[in-house]
Assembly symmetry: C2
Homo-oligomer: 138 residues x 2
Amino acid sequence: MTPTDHEQRLRGVGLRVTRPRVAVLAAVHEAPHADTDALIGVVRRDLPDVSHQAVYDSLRTLTEAGLVRRIQPRGLVARYESRVGDNHHHVVCRSCGVIADVDCAVGEAPCLVASDAGGFVIDEAEVVYWGRCPSCTD
Amino acid sequence: MTPTDHEQRLRGVGLRVTRPRVAVLAAVHEAPHADTDALIGVVRRDLPDVSHQAVYDSLRTLTEAGLVRRIQPRGLVARYESRVGDNHHHVVCRSCGVIADVDCAVGEAPCLVASDAGGFVIDEAEVVYWGRCPSCTD
DNA sequence: ACCTTTTCTTGAACCAGTCAAGAAAGTGAC
DNA sequence: GTCACTTTCTTGACTGGTTCAAGAAAAGGT
């Protein structure tokens, strides 16, 4: 993923190409599941004077455009990842908070269809597994 | 569910019986999926001078004791419900934020076992469906 | 280059939730 | 019942992630 790749992905969804956006997109690819604060740190290695607001704005814009995905397990601050468009879920360590990707048990994502949705029109199913990571199990 | 029932459920899990706790337990039964602010309002119909902190403390204690369940879809404030111990999930309306209960598509909750948990020991799976409620679909 | 629109900077504000110290209430033993 | 001990509640301040707002700067089309 070169800077040019990120540029083209921005243009591809009709967004203006700005240095903060390219840097944020790169940061999300570099640091999966990082929170906003960590991403600000990564972005500032390239753009030392970028404002936190620019990062917040970029993250929102990129999320709305579908270039990144926001995840926010209960009780934790928002985190971002670059894997989008697939049906993967997350497992969160109750102890240290680390997050890992998991694929749904059954390939076709059967659990994503509720038995009785009470008249709701469902367009997304979000699954979060809770437990303990290998380091915290010892 | 009488006040006495709530008392006994509190004693049953080894908690002291206090007026705020009984009132909070009753409020969660009365107003499912309500947020803390709404619950404070309900509790204050019985105990007008109860502090918000007492409600926060009670909700945390009751949640930890397993008498109520906290749910917190991303971007929304925490909400509470009295259905505990079963395997039900929730559907959230993107438009108005209303929450409804849903049961998992397959009775045995197959999606609750991740195919590859990356070494995590999983003890809970949380499913949130996103969509639009009947009122907001029109 | 110029103009228009979008985005970024700066700095303040918001708000659900938490922390802390002392007062009040619950519980068990006597 | 009453006492003593412990937990819980009240009061009020505070935190921290996130958002809001106004003006300056940068993108992009012509």
